[in-house]
Each structure stands twice: as structure tokens, then as C-alpha cells.
């Protein structure tokens, strides 16, 4: 289907059409000084006129002085908590007079009200290219060899409206990772529609590219006009300008080999002087997927259950085996995370685990920068090689 054009009223019509089809629409909104994902019903809830300034360990909203709906970089969270909730009930068991019963059905949406979208199916509005790539990675991880049924069901039911990133942040590097700034079919998770916001004064509009039958159907519900050559050119311009404004860079050539060779590098001890082992990086990373299962009982022992909760390789007990912790030092935990993300992930899943969204840099209270640490490792390796 040829690209179409809608205006801001058209975005509202799109939200309405998705709501009418029974979706919980999850989109960006301003809360507590940041852009977060939350269930929305109106364009008025989008971050109209808000941009952001992001640096290592620092995030601030910034008024743009225009009406842009998507004029910001990565929000505080990706789509990860929507499809892969922070806490999920796996089963509940009940003691009965002659044994016990186990309930595993109808528990999956036993979720907190403050989490995005308490009810599936979800329609995600405004998913960036980096986050689409991340969803694609999580699809590979979570629906691969040992499929996670609840995740797969939420993903299959979801409608995705992608958006071209127009204003990358100071910690963005999706050009380096080849994951953005413009959504492209076949790159990352599939999506149904892709918007590119065109902010011309007096002609604030959105180019809509249609990539699925479902997307075409929904777009058919709302009024749109044909895209002109000027619209297409303007959209290309938005993506080109964004690509030239990456705040960070990550040299990916030979990165896997570099990290494997750096297992004993002094860099890890240096990072450990700053690293808080707080796990914020893994929690905001759109691809980190580690979980723990916790078994719970009530006081009387008549009710037991198993929950799956987000975990992190920065938690000391994450590597607790009989006899002790495999990764007792903070340096060994950072090494594990970075080496898995940028190197071992490639051997394990056939792709890097990093999509260049920059969240681990922005949301690190200690301002640790994975692109900087990679550059330091590279420089150190080059110096080693230069030695006689």
C-alpha cells in the first residue's frame, strides 16, 4: 500500500480506531519528569511540545516550543515491560483435603494497575526503531528454543505503530548498531504502521507507511490523503538529519573478539570503582531478559505459588550456586553484562544484544558509558599490540 498522510486529528482517529478494535493503546506520555509508556486514550496525553536532554547519568525534559508529538529520544522504558512484565505469576497451588490443585490459567494478567497496559491485546504507539530491534531480539530469545507462551501470546496479539526518531538524544548510537533511526521492514520486529512526523509550520502532518494487512485495515478506518513526493522527501530528511545527530558512537568491528580477549583487562576493576551494582542498566535495557523465579507460600501453607520476576546479573545472588557466588566482585558482573551484551549474545542468538538506545548510559546513576568503556578496551588492546 502506498504511503498516506494524516494530521494530528488523524493520530487521534488512529488511537480511536485501535481502541474500538479492543486494544489497550500504550503510548508515550509525560510523568514524573520523564517520558514513560502508559495506557492512553487521547492525543492530548502524548508529550506534545516536549523534548529531552540526555547525558550519562542525566535526563531532563525540555520544552521544544513547538507542537511535536514525538520530538524526544528514548523514553525511560522501552516496550519491554509491556510484553515482558516485571512480575508474572507462573502458577498457584492450593492444598486440598486429598492433595493439592494447581492453577496456571487466567493468571497472566494479574498485574499492577500502574504498569503499562493491564489488559492485552496491546497497541503500541510510537515505537522507535531501536526499540523495534529490541523487540525483535526479545522475540528471538523468548520464543526460540523454549518458547515463553505468555510472551508469545502478547506479542502475537499486539499492534505496533512505529515512529521515525527525529530527535536522537545525547546517549543515542543506533546508527552504530545499525538499528535506526528510521524503522525499516525486515529490521527488528515486524510493525503494522510507521509514522514520520513532519513539523512544517502550518502543515504539521505525519507520513504513514503501511507494512501489514492489519495496518492497512486500521488506516482504512480513518481519513488520510495520498503522500506527495514532497512528503516522502520531507520524511527522508527527518531520518537523515536524525542519523547525523547521534550523541554517541560504538565501533562494532571486531567488538566480539575484542571483548573475549579482554577478560583479564584492568578496565573491569576501574569500572568497578564507579559501578553501583544497582542493576538500573539491565532494568532499562530493552533486551536484557534475565529473570528469577520465586516460590511463595502463605502463613498456613495452604497456598503456594511461583512468580517470575525480573532479575539482573548485577545482583550478587544472581550467580549464587552451591558453595558461593560465581561473580562476587562488581567488576566481574560488569564484565559479564557487557561481554554478554556485545559479544556472547552474537554466538548465542546470532545478533548483538545492543540496539544503541542509550538507556543504560542515561539511567546509570554513576554515569557509566558502555560506548566509552568499549573505546577504552579498544585503545588498551591497540596499545598492547603496539608493544614490542
Amino acid at each position: 500500500m502506498e504511503p498516506r498522510v494524516i494530521d494530528t486529528a488523524g493520530v487521534q482517529a488512529l488511537v480511536d480506531a485501535l481502541l474500538a478494535r479492543g486494544y489497550t493503546v500504550v503510548g508515550p506520555t509525560v510523568r514524573s519528569g520523564a517520558i514513560v509508556n502508559a495506557p492512553i486514550t487521547s492525543v492530548e496525553q502524548l508529550p506534545r511540545g516536549w523534548g529531552d536532554d540526555q547525558e550519562a547519568g542525566r535526563y531532563r525534559l525540555r520544552g521544544r516550543g513547538d507542537d511535536a508529538l514525538f520530538g524526544f529520544a528514548s523514553g525511560a522504558q522501552s516496550a519491554k515491560p509491556v510484553f515482558f512484565p516485571t512480575e508474572e505469576v507462573l502458577w498457584r497451588g492450593r492444598r486440598t483435603p486429598d492433595g493439592f490443585t494447581v492453577e496456571a490459567e487466567d493468571l497472566q494478567d494479574d498485574r499492577r494497575d500502574d504498569q503499562p497496559g493491564a489488559d492485552a491485546p496491546y497497541a503500541l504507539l510510537g515505537v522507535r526503531s531501536c526499540d523495534l530491534a529490541a523487540i525483535g531480539i526479545q522475540d528471538t530469545v523468548l520464543t526460540g528454543r523454549r518458547p515463553d507462551a505468555a510472551y508469545a501470546a502478547r506479542r502475537a496479539a499486539a499492534f505496533v505503530v512505529a515512529v521515525t526518531c527525529s530527535d536522537p538524544g545525547g546517549t543515542c548510537f543506533c546508527v552504530s548498531t545499525g538499528t535506526g533511526p528510521r524503522p525499516g521492514p525486515g529490521r527488528g520486529a515486524p510493525y503494522d504502521l510507521a509514522l514520520t512526523e513532519l513539523l512544517e509550520p502550518g502543515a504539521h502532518r505525519f507520513l504513514v507507511e503501511v507494512t501489514s494487512d492489519r495496518g492497512a485495515e486500521v488506516l482504512g478506518d480513518i481519513g488520510s490523503t495520498s503522500a506527495t513526493a514532497a512528503d516522502l522527501e520531507a520524511a527522508d530528511g527527518v531520518a537523515d538529519r536524525a542519523a547525523r545527530r547521534m550523541g554517541r558512537e560504538l565501533e562494532t568491528d571486531g567488538l566480539k573478539e575484542l571483548l573475549y580477549a579482554a577478560a583479564e583487562s584492568p578496565v573491569w576493576d576501574d569500572v568497578a570503582t564507579r559501578c553501583l551494582a544497582c542493576a538500573n542498566c539491565t532494568a532499562v535495557c530493552p533486551t536484557c531478559f534475565c529473570t528469577d523465579v520465586e516460590d511463595v507460600t502463605d502463613l498456613t501453607g495452604s497456598l503456594a505459588g511461583r512468580n517470575r520476576v525480573w532479575d539482573s546479573c548485577f545482583d550478587a545472588d544472581f550467580s549464587l550456586l552451591h558453595g558461593g557466588r560465581v561473580r562476587a566482585s562488581t567488576g566481574s558482573r560488569y564484565r559479564q553484562w557487557m561481554t554478554h551484551k556485545l559479544a556472547a549474545w552474537i554466538d548465542q542468538f546470532g545478533m548483538s544484544g545492543c540496539v544503541g538506545c542509550g538507556r543504560c548510559i542515561t539511567w546509570c546513576p554513576a554515569a557509566i558509558d558502555i560506548t566509552h568503556e568499549a573505546a577504552v578496551l579498544r585503545r588498551e588492546a591497540a596499545e598492547q599490540e603496539a608493544l614490542p
Partner: protein, 268 residues
């Protein structure tokens, strides 16, 4: 099978952690069905003699009498679980560890010679073996029930020792340090409260003491960068868990910069 006997003891403390047990309103009746509440003066005058299967101990050790009594409690208890910042780290009263107790005593009491007190406020585990330490000022109701359930059922309690940041992210709270520049001890503090303060856009006060791997020097550098003076940094580490080793050490590191310390006692 008879129900296990539960005892609840108080040392130097504010009773808030015992109140957390009384606040378990919906669970008190089931609890009374599972255990015999044998000694709990805050709740009932009825006393069932020991020995006890499980003792919950609130409060820190601050007097010579405490030293004797905690030995008796230990001898009378099959399992001993300490509850709260006082019992696990010495509590707010461990601020005395950084000052001269004789001097306090002479200023506060008309007849200081009647007051017998120790120079330091210490956790129970400094004196007798403790089977489990439940942190918090006060302790969290849900965590207390988890520990009681685990004790009743003879399993390990599930009390994570990681940072408060885990809980902020799980409940979808925006990081107050990164997004607002608000000083927060969350990254070095053990989870357990459900990240209560950051959920209301306040920084973490460290009520649950140091997390498993606390990098207090790094968070102190962040606090300084966000505008805190040395004496303020010292003070954030000297609250309810001032005596917890990682927080104590970090606060001492800032004594020189703050112009305070044991070497200058006696000044106003």
C-alpha cells in the same frame, strides 16, 4: 503436633517493628493458628514460659543489662530472628558511636550517675548468634510475613539483598536521581520497602541498610556532584543504619571534609 511457641522481645528501640507485626491485621488470626504467641508484652500480658521455638528480637544492645538479657533470650530460643534497623545495625541510637556518651549523659540527665549505659549501640548479632536478620526502619509487613511463613514451614526466607533500584524499576518509578537530580541512597540500599520514597519523588533514606554490594564511595561522589556538601553527605549515611559497617565507613570518610569527628568533640 503442638504449635511452635513465638516470643517477641524488645531492647533499645521505638517499638515500630513490633507494631508492624500488630499491623498484620488480616494475618494475625491465621498466625495465631500456626504459632502460640507465648511472649509478646506489647500485645498481651499473658506469658507462657520458655523455651521458645522462634524469638523475634527488636532493638539494639545499649546497656549492661541488655548484654545479660540477650544471652538469656538466646538460650531460651531455638531460632532467633532480629527485626529492624536497631536490632540489625544498632539503629539511630548508634549515633552515640561517633560521640562521647559520658558527655551526652552529663548534659541530658540530672543525675547521670544513675544511668548505666554502654559506649556503643550494637546489633544483636554482635553478641549472640542470630539465625536471620530482617532489615528496615521499620521492617516491611510483607517481608515479616515472608520470614514468619518461612520459619513456620522450615524453609529459607526469600528476602533479596539487592538494591532498591530493582524495586523502583519493577514498579515503573522514574529514577529521581537521573531525572530530577534528587539525592537518593537507593543504589546502595537494600530493597524491601518496595521503593516507597522514590514512588513519591523523594530520594531513598537508606532505611534498610546497605545492599549486598554497596559502592558507597561512588554514590557519595554522585551526591557531591548533585550539590551536597561534605557534611550533608556525612549526615545521609548517619541515620537509622549509621552503625551498619558500609554506611559507618563512608560517613567517617567525610568527617574531615565536614569538619567534624571524634577529634573535635566538645565543640558546639
Amino acid at each position: 503436633m503442638s504449635r511452635p511457641k513465638l516470643a517477641v522481645w524488645k531492647f533499645a528501640s521505638c517499638d515500630g517493628c513490633q507494631l508492624t507485626l500488630l499491623n498484620c491485621e488480616d494475618e494475625l488470626i491465621p498466625l495465631a493458628g500456626e504459632v502460640e504467641i507465648a511472649y509478646f508484652p506489647e500485645a498481651t500480658r499473658a506469658v507462657v514460659e520458655g523455651p521458645y521455638d522462634l524469638s523475634l528480637v527488636e532493638g539494639s544492645i545499649t546497656t549492661p543489662g541488655d548484654l545479660e538479657r540477650i544471652e538469656q533470650v538466646r538460650r531460651a530460643s531455638r531460632r532467633l530472628v532480629t527485626i529492624g534497623a536497631c536490632a540489625t545495625a544498632g539503629g539511630i541510637q548508634a549515633l552515640r558511636d561517633f560521640a562521647d556518651v559520658d558527655e551526652f549523659r552529663s548534659i541530658v540527665y540530672a543525675h547521670p550517675e544513675y544511668v548505666e549505659t554502654l559506649g556503643q549501640s550494637t546489633p544483636v548479632a554482635a553478641h549472640v548468634p542470630v539465625d536471620f536478620e530482617l532489615r528496615g526502619c521499620p521492617i516491611d509487613r510483607g517481608q515479616l510475613l515472608e520470614v514468619l511463613s518461612a520459619e513456620i514451614q522450615g524453609r529459607a526466607p526469600r528476602i533479596p539483598r539487592h538494591s532498591v533500584c530493582f524495586e523502583c524499576k519493577r514498579r515503573g518509578t522514574v529514577c529521581v536521581t537521573v531525572a530530577h537530580g534528587t539525592p537518593c541512597l537507593g543504589p546502595v540500599t537494600q530493597a524491601g520497602c518496595g521503593a516507597l520514597c522514590p514512588a513519591y519523588e523523594r530520594g531513598c533514606y537508606g532505611c534498610f541498610g546497605p545492599q549486598d554490594t554497596p559502592n558507597t564511595a561512588s554514590i557519595a561522589a554522585r551526591l557531591r556532584r548533585d550539590g551536597m556538601a561534605e557534611d550533608e553527605v556525612l549526615r545521609v549515611f548517619r541515620t537509622f543504619n549509621a552503625g551498619a559497617e558500609a554506611f559507618r565507613r563512608e560517613s567517617v570518610r567525610h568527617e574531615a571534609g565536614a569538619g567534624v569527628g571524634r577529634g573535635r568533640k566538645g565543640e558546639p
